[in-house]
């Protein structure tokens, strides 16, 4: 049975927006244009029907969307400014689709993300890519966007230019705020020509300390790696280090040799040279822990100053229960991630103690995903301790989504 606000909401939508039900009995809406999103949001506001996004699953405590929007039909290329190295797209496009488009012109988005991800979900989380070591966060590659605020107001910011300070930076309001204040349906991204050469090497080391030592030496030695990621996954052997070098052919060749030389000194148990793109993509997909397909896990992100990441072995051993976690450290990005599968996840109190230590080191932890809706309590760890920030956050919600249509109005555990 459909409850009253939902039926009221649905009855106000034009026929082409009639919802479909998926196998999980979710009501799915497929907007195809900016006007469609505007219309859906305005109707939802009028009947106070809460909405979710099918491409994103970061929902706050107790939030039960009445219907879900899928952006899968909003995946069109709007303008390709090859001479400007800019691309203007709808955000429902997946990384795989985008990469295909760009490859035709010998271009690429240098950020390495799981092929199945949509730009919409990546922008909502401001997800740190594995190649952020060299290219910084995705937000730095966004020159403009179009969005509809929670209360149905269409806006644009920036444009097909690479620099801009015209008015308040609305890109920063919408990127990373988990779609709480509006839905970004269009984005303009900087892109790059494909490099002359690119080489990915994967090292496997059983011993944690050896893996960290090698990673630290590589970080010092390699000039500007595209990717330098250290990780440990359940059901795989020990620790692995994924390194990508890219640029001029001669530079890549020159850098690879000393890299292998240093590695030989630490005697890795296995090394795979020249990882093919397909294998790399499979790894990247496995390392994308906030991906919907990976939902059966508790995932936390820990922000820490860069150099402290090399001291992690100490930290990991001083909290023995951390040994059961999967670990992902994209070096020089100021953060790492930990993941637990449902049966091995730590107690809330253990995480609380861990958080205390991280805060004392000038960092923070953030719960990105929980394994089971019954574990919502973990989200309490996200609470922003500063009352001023909580006040500002509440005001933002009041300004842009006063009826709480989007995401239940919670980011840091408060409405």
């Amino acid at each position: 049975m459909i409850d009253l606000p939902v039926s009221e909401f649905l009855s106000t939508l034009p026929p082409h927006l009639a919802p479909l039900k998926n196998e999980a009995e979710r009501l799915l809406l497929y907007p195809q244009s900016q006007e469609d999103i505007e219309c859906i949001l305005k109707s939802a506001n009028a009947s106070e029907a809460k909405l979710g996004l099918s491409e994103s699953s970061n929902y706050a405590l107790g939030y039960r969307p009445m219907a879900f929007l899928s952006f899968s039909k909003l995946n069109r290329l709007k303008r390709y400014r090859q001479e400007e190295l800019l691309i203007n797209l709808e955000t429902g496009i997946t990384i795989e689709q985008l990469n295909q488009l760009l490859a035709e012109k010998n271009h690429r988005l240098p950020h390495v993300y799981a092929p199945s991800r949509t730009l919409l979900s990546l922008l909502g989380e401001d997800t740190v890519s594995l190649s952020a070591t060299r290219y910084g966060p995705l937000r730095q590659w966004v020159t403009g966007l179009e969005a509809i605020t929670g209360d149905g107001c269409p806006i644009h910011y920036g444009g097909e230019v690479v620099k801009n300070v015209t008015g308040y930076d609305l890109n920063k309001l919408f990127i990373g705020s988990h779609h709480q204040y509006g839905l970004v349906h269009r984005v303009i991204l900087k892109i790059l020509p494909k490099p002359e050469a690119s080489r990915t090497v994967l090292f496997h080391l059983e011993d944690m300390q050896a893996a960290f030592t090698l990673a630290e030496q590589m970080a010092k030695m390699i000039h500007d790696p595209e990717m330098l990621t250290l990780f440990k996954l359940k059901n795989t052997f020990g620790w692995q280090i994924l390194v990508t070098l890219s640029g001029y052919l001669q530079m890549v060749e020159q850098s690879t040799e000393p890299l292998l030389h240093v590695a030989r000194g630490l005697n890795p148990d296995l090394q795979e040279l020249d990882l093919p793109a397909k294998t790399l993509n499979q790894w990247v997909e496995r390392l994308d822990w906030t991906n919907l397909k990976e939902s059966q896990a508790l995932v936390i992100r820990v922000a820490l100053p860069n150099q402290m990441l090399f001291d992690l072995p100490q930290l990991l051993t001083s909290f023995p229960w951390l040994s059961g976690a999967d670990v992902l450290i994209p070096l020089r990005t100021g953060q790492f991630c930990l993941r637990w599968h449902p049966l091995s996840q730590p107690a809330y109190t253990d995480l609380l103690a861990f958080q205390k230590t991280i805060l004392s080191l000038g960092g923070f932890i953030r719960v990105l995903r929980i394994a089971d809706p019954a574990d919502q309590g973990y989200f309490d760890l996200n609470q922003e301790p500063d009352p001023v920030l909580l006040k500002w956050q509440a005001r933002l919600k009041q300004q842009y989504d006063p009826k709480g249509i989007l995401g239940g109005g919670e980011i840091n555990g408060i409405p």
Binding site: C153, V161, G167, Y248, V388
Partner: protein, 487 residues
């Protein structure tokens, strides 16, 4: 002065108690020194200048402003180019000049913590021994403050490769317009759900006062090469810029100067730029030595396709620094032609440079004004400086009209109003050429989140909707007088 002063003797005493007698200034001759920033077309004096020594003092001063609804304006070094510090509605200046300490340089984590009154160039002086530098380098870096850079999201010569201020600010300590002290971001550069640092940077002092910043430091490149290329036609230089950027080459600087500028800097600095050229480009490549060599190989064929008149490579560090000194001093050199300038800061797609620069030349001719171009060409960030004599009202009128036409020419090709100088008061009247009123309202709502009473640097960025009989607070001379400011 703007509105009737709200500063009673009692309030003045309160401020004196917080910062000390010597640091509350209201003598007329002192206030005169604060009557404008580097956008000299507009002038207005604050009611009072308060110079706190630390964050706590800033917070106490702002708390009083909040309680008595007194507008306050953060003031760094006053080099802003959009009238960002103009006290249009009166109020006090909170000057950051005493808060000028570099608190920590952490070479391991490549970060520094500074008070925001620190001058940009000092930070680079002090980080150099660690083989690190702070990348955003406005041409005014010898004078402007880190706080002013944060407020304007300043750019600079090397931002074409390294990014603008927002890409280098990891954390901030801010005094909110309600007088609270809050810490945003942190040494790791991440945030939890809302990018407060990102929102604050570029908000032009309208969301509060930044008192400390954690900034990202970048390793100094192993090798730097600078080339000076001259052209008989401005359009040839512009076409080369478009091709360089489309090729994917990432020069660390790509700056253009036109003939008016060439002559002015040659006179001021004896730089020896080709006197007969209509334009020169300064092209810098930096990075690992081998990488620079390969980039140079990639650059040379492009140069040969674009009618370069003369190509010269800076022989050594001294020559390189001289070239950059001339570039950074170009604006000062214009003083030899006319005493003042009015400067726009639009950004356009680089593929439109040829077209728009040609239009700017025509606009200059039509309005009989001298326009000198010196700009961040690699970013498409134009800086047409329209030279003027402020004591010649007819000329000022022509300058303003030419400025508006240039701006519209840039917007017509998909450009934006400002790339780095901010909107301030000077460009706020043009915001409705770029945004709908609904969009402007979305921005106004953001202002209300941080500053419900509207006392932090009021009247900036957001235009007042103008209908019949309503007055805009823009640059038109008669309107400035109507607002109590003058040219």
């Amino acid at each position: 002065m703007g509105s009737m002063s709200k500063i009673t003797p009692t309030l003045k005493r309160l401020f004196q108690r917080i910062v000390g007698h010597a640091f509350v200034l209201d003598a007329p001759e002192v206030l005169k020194a604060y009557e404008c920033d580097a956008c000299v077309l507009m002038k207005a004096q604050p009611d009072l200048v308060v110079l706190p020594a630390n964050t706590q003092e800033v917070a106490q001063v702002v708390k009083i402003c909040h309680e008595f609804e007194i507008p306050f304006i953060a003031r760094g070094s006053g080099t802003g180019l959009s009238g960002g510090t103009l006290p249009v509605s009166g109020g006090i200046f909170i000057g950051l000049s005493r808060m000028n300490h570099i608190l920590e340089i952490d070479p391991e984590n490549r970060i520094a913590r500074v008070e925001t009154g620190v001058i940009n160039a000092w930070l680079n002086r002090d980080t150099r021994p660690f083989k690190l530098f702070y990348a955003p380098d406005p041409s005014s870096q010898a004078a402007c403050s880190i706080g002013g850079n944060i407020a304007e999201n300043a750019g600079g010569i090397h931002c074409v490769k390294y990014g603008v201020t927002t890409d280098h600010i990891l954390g901030l300590e801010v005094v909110t317009p309600e007088g609270d002290i809050v810490s945003l971001g942190g040494p790791h550069g991440h945030y939890r759900g809302i990018n407060w640092v990102g929102l604050f940077v570029g908000s032009e002092g309208t969301f509060g006062i930044a008192t400390q910043a954690i900034v990202r430091l970048t390793p100094l490149p192993q090798t730097i090469k600078v080339f000076l290329a001259s052209f008989s036609k401005l359009q040839h230089a512009a076409a080369l810029v478009a091709d360089i950027m489309a090729s994917g080459l990432r020069p660390s600087a790509l700056e253009m100067m036109d003939d008016v500028t060439i002559k002015a800097v040659n006179e001021a600095f004896s730089t020896g730029f080709p006197q007969d050229a209509e334009a020169v480009l300064l092209i810098e490549l930096d990075g690992h030595t081998d990488e620079v060599a390969m980039a140079e190989q990639q650059l040379m064929p492009l140069l040969s396709q674009h009618q370069v008149q003369q190509l010269r490579q800076a022989e050594d560090e001294a020559e390189r620094l001289t070239l950059w000194k001339a570039r950074k001093g170009a604006v000062a050199a214009y003083g030899r032609i006319l005493p003042a300038f009015y400067l726009h800061d639009c950004v356009i797609p680089r593929s439109e440079l040829v077209h728009v620069l040609t239009q700017i030349q025509a606009i200059g001719k039509a309005h009989e004004v001298v326009i000198a171009n010196v700009f961040h060409a690699g970013d498409g960030n134009l800086h047409p400086n329209i030279l003027l004599d402020p004591d010649d009202p007819a000329m000022v009128k022509r300058v303003l009209a030419a400025g508006e036409e240039i701006l519209k020419a840039c917007l017509d090709v998909g450009g934006v109003l400002s790339g780095e100088h901010g909107i301030g008061i000077e460009k706020s009247e043009f915001m409705d050429l770029v945004f709908t009123w609904d969009e402007i309202d979305v921005m106004r709502r953001l202002k209300q989140v941080f500053d419900p009473k509207g006392i932090a640097n009021p009247d900036k960025i957001l235009p007042v909707k103008s209908g019949c009989g309503e007055v805009r607070k823009g640059l038109a001379p008669h309107m400035l007088q109507a607002q109590g400011t003058w040219i």
